[in-house]
């Protein structure tokens, strides 16, 4: 009955109804933000379309690398200073794999993520496990040590000479009118979205995920209700490192790899995680989007690229300060 009525003579009604419901869902403030974003996006798309496209691609890369770090930070409670170095290691594995098998680098996703899963497990079992109960900052030092070891191992095995793999599709591009842009970069956007949805689903709708969430919020409480928190930590740590492995392969397809390549991504991921707020995965997406677009915007003005870094860090400070101010006022 209903379907028939909607379908026949009141056809705009369901659309309007859906729209209203959507607007209703967005709380007043979010609604404002959404409108601003849409207007900003349209203006940007007309004025400097490549800022929008490239900013989005950069944001995707940032977000997809930061998400696993946020996961470790939120649940295991460790600032993993070796985060980017795990990615570097994964990328070298992928390079190795590609050179020896001659296969497409993307095939390496499976062995590399498996390999990094095991490395993550070994790292946890061998070191981090013993850090529970020790002062939290000590874990920071531990991951710093791991970071040095990974970098130096890579330097010994593969030397500091950058390596890169050239795959034709990584420079695929599309042209609209006179405007040519790269399309492969969207793979990072896709990766970020898939990673985010996957993690979200995992944390909300699976038993292990819920247990992990509970552990992250209150380890003592989780222990009391019978969750084996050591298992959870092991699992989350290894999964995160495996996800870093997936990203490392995608990273390799477009970037040169050298032993110190990970450092800056540790830094940026840490910043993003802090900007988003502890354990806030959605926040990572927003933060990456703001930073990616902000950077691309500044760079798009000839001669101002040197200041793009400032935008990154100023935005981080502003977001954190505003957040802290709001909390204090409340």
């Amino acid at each position: 009955m209903n379907n028939q009525r909607c379908g026949s003579f009141e056809y705009p009604a369901p659309l309007i109804y859906l729209g209203l419901k959507l607007l209703d869902k967005l709380r007043y403030k979010n609604y404002q933000i959404a409108i601003t974003l849409i207007i900003g996006g349209v203006v940007l798309a007309l004025w400097k379309p490549f800022v929008l496209i490239e900013g989005l691609q950069v944001a995707g890369l940032y977000a997809s690398i930061a998400l696993p770090m946020a996961l470790i930070l939120g649940i295991v409670g460790i600032i993993n200073l070796a985060h980017g170095d795990f990615m570097m290691f994964g990328a070298y594995f992928a390079y190795w794999f590609t050179v020896y098998t001659g296969a497409d680098p993307l095939v390496a996703i499976f062995p590399v993520s498996l390999g990094l899963f095991l490395i993550g497990m070994a790292t946890y079992r061998g070191t981090i496990k013993y850090m529970h109960g020790a002062p939290e900052l000590i874990q920071l030092l531990l991951t710093f040590g791991i970071s040095i070891v990974l970098q130096q191992l890579a330097n010994l095995f593969w030397t500091s000479q950058p390596v890169s793999i050239h795959v034709g599709y990584a420079s695929a591009s599309a042209t609209i009118g006179t405007f040519t842009f790269g399309t492969y970069g969207f793979v990072y956007v896709a990766a970020a979205v898939i990673l985010f949805i996957g993690l979200f689903h995992f944390l909300r709708h699976t038993r292990i995920g819920q247990a992990a969430l509970a552990t992250g919020q209150n380890p003592t409480g989780a222990k009391l209700v019978g969750i084996n928190i050591d298992r959870i930590y092991l699992l989350i740590f290894s999964i995160s490192i495996a996800l870093v492995g997936v990203m490392s392969v995608l990273f390799l397809t477009r970037h040169s790899i050298f032993p110190h390549v990970g450092g800056i991504f540790t830094l940026k991921s840490f910043c993003l995680a802090a900007m988003a707020g502890l354990g806030n995965l959605t926040g990572i997406l927003w933060a990456s989007l703001i930073l990616g677009l902000g950077e691309s915007f500044v760079k798009s003005f000839m001669g101002y690229a040197g200041w793009a870094d400032i935008i990154f860090f100023v935005l981080i400070i502003v977001v954190i300060m505003v957040g802290s101010y709001r909390r204090r006022v409340k």
Partner: protein
């Protein structure tokens, strides 16, 4: 018992002061480098005692270095005076920024200090006319004409001052203030502690120390560049030393810096290739077996022994 301790301190200080008379230049330089990191580690720990973890050591180190180098270069100010100016510059910048950022806690404070250090670097890099831009500025000559003994004594004096300041922080009411702020801010303010005042005070003082060390470093090597003077290892290494030695004490960072500094140098001599790898491994091993830092764990063992 107490007398023994003072005698021991006197002997150690005497040995440290007389060090250049019975060692070569190389050891003096190595010792100077270790003392530089020692002071940075200690200054970091002094702020850590309030519960605030700064990732911005390199930032204030660099500000001090640039302030000293530029005042010396542009206005011909005496190197020693310019070192003090470097400290003052870091003090005031830390004070002003502290008014804003010390409302933050924990990880947020850490990130914001990290971001500030990076912002300093980018600003310095982009102000070509003042700072010399990315290529930096070269000083006409090193302080004391590059005499390693005098440089050593200068750094030693700064280090001893830092240790004294740290001890003052440990032995006076400041100790009570920082410990209670770190433990429980609610108790602290309900007991009449002006938390913000103490945080700003400690932040500015420790930043000034970092600035002074940065200034001496700039004068020792007679140049400043954004990449070298603001290098992240001036943040990470002192942190590692402090954590390895043990937090919240004067002894911890001192021991940590001496141990890590000596190991790093010894390894470099033994293993020209791959010494950094072993260095990382040593950090991991020490942490695994001494999770409270060297001083903390040893003390714990001793107490349990009692």
């Amino acid at each position: 018992m107490k007398n023994w301790r003072y005698i021991a301190y006197t002997v150690i200080i005497a040995i440290a002061i007389l060090f250049p008379f019975y060692t070569g230049t190389y050891l003096q330089h190595t010792a100077t480098a270790i003392l530089i990191y020692l002071s940075l580690a200690l200054s970091w720990d002094m702020l850590l005692r309030t519960g605030q973890m700064s990732f911005g050591i390199a930032g204030f180190f660099g500000i001090g270095g640039y302030a000293a180098a530029l005042t010396h270069l542009k206005w011909g100010i005496d190197p020693l005076l310019s070192i003090i100016l470097g400290g003052i510059a870091a003090f005031f910048i830390a004070f002003l920024l502290g008014l804003v950022v010390l409302h933050l806690r924990g990880m947020y404070f850490a990130i914001v200090t990290l971001a500030l250090a990076e912002i300093f670097r980018v600003i310095v890099r982009n102000l070509h006319s003042v700072t010399g831009g990315p290529e930096g500025s070269v000083l006409p000559s090193a302080i004391f004409g590059g005499d390693p003994s005098k440089i050593y004594w200068l750094i030693l004096a700064i280090t001893i001052t830092t240790i004294l300041v740290s001890e003052v922080f440990q032995k006076t009411r400041i100790y009570f203030a920082t410990t209670s702020i770190r433990n429980d801010e609610l108790v602290a303010k309900s007991s009449g502690i002006d938390i913000f005042k103490y945080l700003i005070f400690v932040f500015a003082i420790t930043s000034a120390i970092q600035g002074i060390i940065g200034s001496s470093y700039a004068h020792q090597y007679a140049f400043v560049t954004p990449e070298e003077t603001f290098h992240i290892h001036f943040t990470l290494l002192p942190m590692a030393m402090c954590l390895l030695g043990g937090m919240y004490t004067t002894m911890g960072p001192v021991v940590g810096a001496l141990v890590l500094g000596t190991i790093a140098d010894y390894l470099k001599l033994q293993l020209p290739y791959g010494h950094l790898l072993v260095y990382g491994v040593v950090i991991i091993i020490v942490i695994l077996f001494m999770p409270r830092g060297i001083v903390g764990t040893v003390r714990e063992r001793l107490e349990r022994g009692k």
